[in-house]
């Protein structure tokens, strides 16, 4: 049975949204290998569906806190790729004028309250955004995104309990990509069901297939409604896979043989393209999602590269009020 045209268009929009992230990440990789971007870079290839689906349920007043693997979340929140690339390229048009870089940039005007290069440290800050909402009547929902590895940081447990104790509107999203940096998460825990930690703290929790946009969307939609209605925090464990290294240059010797091949079949872009094809959508429409995204990112990169480098004379600015 073929899908309705509306449903197909929505799914093509999702595919395009994921390609925008993938194309940006691949461009970042190229620029890093050319050493036009320098320093540590952590890409999110393979995890795009979670950011796209989750952010599609957020409202402008909501506050999202990501990790150092955060480029995709920024794009999904609406931060222009040109200004992200400019940030990584040390251009004055970067979202933070080159102070944040790949792993620590923010763009609060888009509800993107920043990456964080300390594993798990963004969770308490997100709790604060929700705490503020208790007084300002904004109905703001705070979203804290972190990986499976961050579940072993005390900051995350403290933040979850704080939010639970006070019924604060925080959505904790754990992107479980199976590796805490270079080490399998299951070697680092006795109970691989990470969501049970939230449940134990009195936080409703759900485990979803992060490659399935509709599962993420449903979980997110319920969580946003609950938080906005003052019913407190929730926890989403989204299973996913990173199909690149932890950082650019990661030799990935920790991966078992055949794992990446299997991941390339289930990863969300390949999966959605295959589903659309099965639903009878023409190859041209599917391919166009990628082509449009790559065009946009190429243009953004050209613009960013033509932008002026940051001015060293401003290096001490913004340290204090």
């Amino acid at each position: 049975m073929s899908e309705s045209p509306v449903a197909v268009n929505d799914r093509l929009r999702d595919l395009h949204a994921m390609w925008r992230i993938r194309a940006l990440e691949e461009k970042v990789r190229d620029l890093r290998l050319e050493e036009l971007i320098v320093g540590s870079v952590h890409l999110s290839n393979g995890q795009e569906s979670i950011a796209v689906a989750a952010c599609s349920e957020l409202r402008p007043q909501d506050a999202l806190y990501a990790t150092y693997r955060g480029h995709g979340w920024a794009v999904a929140r609406g931060v222009p790729p040109r200004n992200i690339l400019a940030e990584l390229l040390a251009r004055s048009t970067g979202v933070n004028g080159g102070r944040g870089g790949s792993a620590h940039f923010s763009a609060p005007e888009f509800g993107f309250h920043g990456e964080n290069s300390i594993v798990g440290a963004g969770a308490p800050t997100a709790v604060g955004a929700a705490l503020a909402a208790r007084y300002d009547g904004s109905g703001r929902v705070a979203v804290s995104v972190f990986g499976d590895g961050a579940m072993n940081q005390g900051a995350v447990t403290e933040a979850m309990n704080f939010a639970a104790a006070f019924g604060l509107g925080v959505i904790f999203i754990c992107e479980n990509n199976r590796y805490s940096e270079l080490t399998p998460i299951n070697d680092m825990v006795a109970n691989p069901d990470l969501s049970q930690r939230a449940t134990a703290l009195g936080i409703p929790a759900v485990r979803v297939d992060g490659n399935d946009l509709s599962q993420v969307r449903t979980a997110m939609s319920l969580s946003v409604a609950s938080a906005a209605a003052g019913r407190g925090p929730s926890f989403i464990e989204a299973h996913t896979q990173r199909i690149v290294g932890h950082y650019i240059g990661d030799a990935e010797q920790y991966r078992p043989a055949g794992e990446l091949d299997a991941d390339m079949i289930v990863e969300p872009i390949a999966r959605l393209a295959r589903e659309l094809e099965t639903a009878g959508v023409g190859r041209h429409a599917i391919d166009r999602c990628e082509a449009r995204a790559r065009d946009e990112i190429e243009r953004a990169a050209s613009q960013a590269l033509a932008d002026p480098l940051v001015d060293p004379s401003t290096a001490k600015e913004h340290l204090y009020a």
Binding site: A63, Y65, N96, G97, R99, G100, H104, F105, S106, A107, P108, E109, H113, G114, N116, S117, I118, A121, A123, P124, T125, A126, V127, G128, A129, A130, L131, A132, A133, R134, Y135, D136, S138, R140, A142, G154, A155, E158, A159, N161, F162, A165, E317, H318, L319, Y320, A321
Partner: protein, 334 residues
């Protein structure tokens, strides 16, 4: 309208917090046992009753408390967080150093963190090693964090207000041994002063003594003992450590030519080293080598007799100052 009231240091901090909550509706006040019990030292007594849910108790989770302050501050709140003992801030140092201190700079000013951490430090008789440390130098090594250390009731009142009004993360380091002291006249309701500055506690000609925190009281006793022998010293109490009024120190040392820095914190790596270095770097001509006096680089024992052997006492400060004043260059004919 400013009015003079009789308050001890704890009462002065309470009055300042009450004024913050009254006049700045964006302030919230929280910490362990801060709400209903009014704080283990009683500093926030009565405030929850008066200001409702803007004053509340928290789990024993310093990281969550301070992280929440960073997040709430970036959304228009002005959190005032009590960290019961500065030793406890160490479990949440990430939120102070990696998070709060970075917010404004790394976001290029798009996000700010106008939060205040109130804490207290220092040794008191019988306190254990984990409740006795003086850790200001750790914070002073971190650009982006403002730090002050009140001692008198008036300074406790004024500095809390200045800290809360400050647009940057600010740590107010109090001292529990001072909270319940004698009541003194404190002017409340006056203008909220900008951060920074020092207090000149004594005027003298023979040396400059730079100090901060509760040990200032011993320094003043020591200086007053020397006055009986006709030896006088400038005593500068640096109530603000960041920003630090280096120019006031230089101005005094240029006149006296002799410098002693006294703090309760450990001598090695203490902020006294920075004060001395700035004076030396300035090229000011010194009549004697500058000296530092601090905790004798040790862990701090619980037994009062042992602690007193390591932390500068009045007699030691007086003899050190006597040496600084009496020092002459070899060959000067002395």
């Amino acid at each position: 309208m400013p009015e003079a009231v009789k308050l001890n240091v704890g009462g002065a901090v309470n009055a300042a917090l009450a004024r913050c909550l009254e006049e700045m509706p964006e302030t919230i006040l929280y910490g362990e046992d801060v709400g209903k019990p009014g704080g283990v030292f009683g500093i926030s007594r009565g405030l929850q009753k008066r200001f409702g849910d803007r004053v509340f108790d928290t789990p024993i989770s310093e990281t969550a408390m301070l992280g929440a302050a960073v997040g709430a501050a970036s959304f228009g709140r002005r959190p005032i967080v009590e960290i019961m003992w500065i030793d406890f801030s160490l479990v949440a140092l990430d939120q102070i150093v990696n998070q709060a201190a970075n917010v404004r700079y790394v976001s290029e000013g798009r996000t700010t963190a106008p939060l205040t951490i109130r804490t207290q430090q220092g040794n008191s008789p019988g306190a254990c090693a984990q409740h006795s440390q003086n850790l200001e130098a750790l914070l002073l090594h971190i650009p982006g964090i403002r730090v002050c250390m009140p001692r008198t009731g008036q300074d406790a009142y004024d500095l809390v207000l200045s800290a809360v009004a400050c647009e940057d993360p600010t740590v107010v380091i109090e001292n529990r041994t001072l909270y319940a002291g004698a009541k003194e006249e404190v002017t409340i309701g006056g203008e909220i002063l900008p951060i920074g500055g020092h207090r000149r506690r004594r005027d003298g000609d023979h040396a400059t003594v730079v100090t901060w925190g509760s040990i200032t009281t011993r320094v003043l006793d020591a200086v007053d003992r020397l006055a009986a022998d006709g030896l006088t010293a400038d005593v500068l109490e640096m109530v603000w450590l960041n920003p630090f009024d280096h120019s006031a120190v230089l101005e005094s040392v240029r006149r006296t030519g002799r410098l002693l820095v006294v703090h309760e914190a450990a001598r090695t790596g203490g902020f006294g080293a920075e004060v001395v270095a700035r004076v030396v770097e300035s090229g000011t001509v010194l009549l004697a080598p500058p000296r530092r006096l601090g905790l004798n680089d040790s862990r701090i024992p619980s037994a009062p007799q042992l602690a007193a052997a390591l932390i500068p006492q009045t007699e030691q400060i007086a003899s050190e100052l006597r040496e600084v004043i009496g020092w002459t260059h070899a060959g000067d004919g002395s």
